[in-house]
């Protein structure tokens, strides 16, 4: 029988609570829809960065390449891919105090012109390891814009 001292048990209990309480957050589907207010390569960001979008100044194929490049760079594995939708999940990491990873990322692409692609990025955090998860949508659209402008 494993005997655990009281302070250690308390530490484990509070740490588990932190992990559980952090719960789920974010959005699975972006609330942004394309309209005339979008300007090329100027991202629009939702509250807390779980949702973001941008009108990329490149064609659909290039936008898809850039999306895949950025998703891999933010340490994700692509789980689903079509012409207009790419889903990925961040790789999980064991930490000394807080692990990280597991966030679900969903990128939708819509051709709006010969060299314009409307792109939305949604982040959904999960239950397991929620304390070490974060919203990635803003950073992803920012990195996409940087790559388009190179």
């Amino acid at each position: 029988m494993l005997k655990i001292k009281k302070p250690v048990a308390l530490l484990i209990a509070s740490f588990s609570s932190l992990v559980i309480l952090s719960g789920c957050a974010g959005v699975q589907v972006s609330k942004f829809t394309f309209d005339d207010s979008f300007k090329v390569n100027k991202p629009m960001k939702g509250e807390k960065c779980y949702d973001a979008s941008v009108l990329l100044g490149v064609n659909l194929n290039r936008a898809r390449d850039i999306t895949k490049k950025v998703l891999v760079a933010v340490d994700s594995t692509i789980t689903e891919e079509t012409d207009t939708l790419i889903k990925a999940q961040r790789n999980r990491h064991i930490g000394l105090f807080v692990g990280s990873g597991g966030e679900e990322l969903s990128v939708k692409l819509k051709k709006t012109g010969e060299s314009e692609t409307f792109t939305t990025v949604a982040t959904k955090t999960g239950f397991v390891g929620g304390a070490g998860q974060k919203a990635w949508s803003c950073q992803i659209v920012d990195e996409m814009v940087k790559m388009v402008q190179k």
């Binding site: 760079a73 340490d75 961040r90 990491h93 930490g95 000394l96 105090f97 990280s100 950073q139």
Partner: protein, 126 residues
Amino acid sequence: MLAEKTLIILSIIILLVGCATTTKVERINSPHKSNEKNCDINFYKDTKPSKSYEIIGKIESHIKKNLFFGGIVQLEDEAYSELRLKACDLGGDSVVIDDYIETSAAEMSHIHVWATVLKLTTKNAN
């Protein structure tokens, strides 16, 4: 006994949460003779060499590091070391940073870098 156990557990933790590097190397054109392991490499971040050169390889590397075991991963530090190693192996003498993305989440910091390895063709032209 307790000290031994603690040491083993600590070693396992360090192995699990320390740092890791994943690198893909693509050789372009005919192979060149590898340089010595830590050869001199010139890095170009926002520029390219003014001398003429041959592209001999492409490198894509992802480096992650735990904040508690070495701090934050840096382009000019860990990434350059990894790129130098691979570029020397390819027989190159210069590396152009095509792109890089830095991220961090909880204890982990990451850097993903894309680079091109060059061999200057007019290096001894003077």
